[in-house]
Symmetry: C2
Subunit: 329 residues, 2 copies
């Protein structure tokens, strides 16, 4: 029996050594250059997962929230969901002859981006209502999935799901392996993101928070459906982000990543006044060659107030150009 | 090396046999009498977790939804959250001298349940707004926790958290062990349930769906808070339940349990028109000795339409009196 125990312990030891050696070789953030952002992320994760430190956070409380547009995938020259809406306008145009003389639909059909941009937030909402409502939730899911299979970014000439940031995919994976629960908290449509968030980001639909339109429960020929109505339900942006987080998660995150002023309140909500260790990061788009370069003056993804506040609040600003070895997978 | 492998396999075999023998002895639904409900539940869980059957459902899709009032804990003679509101009225009365002459507050202060009941849904909403708003979400959480520590049910003379149904706690546990994700989907307040749902039901805050009032993000002395406003945001009842499920979870449940007509649409949403195996259950309150007996004519938790539909839709109706060995833990 003594011999057997000894053998068993030897096997166990070999097993654990092997795990450790594999781990040491395995850099969890391979696409990140060594630097302040990478070391800040790793130091945070190590601190909150180490039971022997006062910074330890139990797995259930390890909530991480990520903006989507500009944080997990690109957002220039316009949000990808706007391209989806524009493609929908073209597809639905035959059933809507009135769109030929009705803005902002006319601008989309004529490829007149200037007039479209001038239609502002009001125009955008009209565009969303005209293209995102009137079907069931299941039907909308199918439309989004089908679109993603063939649609390509007009200037980058790649499928949208290939325009996600590889370093951020690694970060999501690293957090997940350390028992964090990753959430998307985006101004984009919740039902626009859910059909592909699990496959692309490993984030299941129940961990996606976003803007939404009103849905109504109905029975169609005895089959229960949710019908999408052309009416805003919730805008998950700016001060709406902490509201959406509280509504969906009911816990304050300990880790947040954004890239624009639309994320300011989410970063504040995560870090300000906290007595325990928290992390907030900002993706700073500084790479005009490999991606885009923009911040304080951009119409899409403007980063101004949040950039100014980063220093005093101890937020980590990621310089894409310097800190990311690659952008896309 | 051959000897070593053999020993290793022998150890492995012992280990698995031990797991199996422990499992066989362990009835997951000990408080349920043998009968149609218990066997229907077990048959369903075995089918969807068995990879060798066409009914198999992968863990991520194993979504189970539970009503709370009358399904996981008692709800008579009035919803427990109403007792909370009434206790709050008494506590706040000194700061609201006007309540002495203002219904429904006056009725609460005078213990006049008849007038309170007559104030109807409108009165209930006024009561909620007067007692559940004006503080931060964190502040409200503290109020609920503190109340639960000392409050007792006026007729049953027990703390409310002891008035949960033991057979349902076992069911939650059984599902969890089979990789289901359990959600509460209740007409009750989301922020009223979250402070205790994890401790009492093992259901974390992010898996609680409920009614809510509007919250506003603010910075108070540099500290981010969500302020609760006296304005309805969402009513998670009847046709609202599938809407709430879709909003929070984004997947259709495969398992649902309710007890009243407020759950009808949730049960329909889960089962009707489904091509795969689904389960819907109804707790039928038939035990006037150990709990309460009510259904078609009750003002609280009326079970009429859903009971009539149970038969044709193949829903499992649990007869509390006959099928549950014990009610409370």
């Amino acid at each position: 029996m003594y011999k057997l125990n000894k053998l068993f312990l030897a096997l166990l030891f070999l097993f654990y050594s092997c795990i450790n050696c594999a781990w040491a070789k395995n850099d969890p953030l391979l696409s990140w250059n060594e630097g302040s952002s990478k070391s800040a992320i790793i130091a945070f994760v190590q601190a909150v997962t180490d039971k022997s430190t006062p910074d330890y956070v139990r797995p259930g409380e390890r909530i991480a929230v990520f903006d989507n547009d500009g944080t997990l995938w690109s957002e220039q020259p316009v949000y990808f969901q706007l391209y989806f809406a524009m493609d929908r306008v073209k597809e639905l145009a035959a059933d809507h002859p009135e769109w030929k003389h009705q803005q902002p639909f006319q601008a989309v059909l004529e490829g007149d981006m200037e007039t479209l941009a001038a239609s502002g937030k009001e125009g955008l909402i009209q565009l969303i209502m005209g293209t995102h409502a009137g079907m069931t939730s299941d039907g909308f899911t199918d439309i989004v999935k089908k679109w993603l299979q063939t649609a390509k970014h007009p200037t980058l000439k790649k499928p949208y799901t290939e325009l996600v940031f590889k370093p951020m995919l690694e970060l999501l994976d690293y957090l997940r392996k350390n028992d964090f629960k990753n959430y998307i908290v985006s101004g984009g449509g919740i039902e626009f993101m859910r059909p592909w968030s699990e496959e692309i980001y490993g984030i299941p639909p129940e961990q996606v928070v976003g803007s939404s339109i009103v849905t109504i429960f109905e029975l169609h020929d005895g089959k229960p459906v949710l019908v999408r109505e052309p009416k805003v339900n919730f805008i998950d942006d700016k001060a709406g982000k902490p509201v959406g987080i509280n509504q969906h998660i009911g816990r304050r995150p300990i880790f947040a990543f954004g890239n624009s002023d639309g994320d300011l309140q989410m970063l504040q909500y995560t870090t300000l006044g906290a007595t325990a260790k928290r992390f907030a990061g900002i993706v700073h788009h500084t790479d005009e060659i490999r991606e885009f370069s923009y911040d304080r003056d951009s119409h899409i993804g403007r980063l101004d107030k949040a950039l100014s506040e980063a220093d005093s609040s101890g937020w980590t600003v990621v310089d894409m150009k310097k800190e990311w070895k690659v952008i896309y997978p």
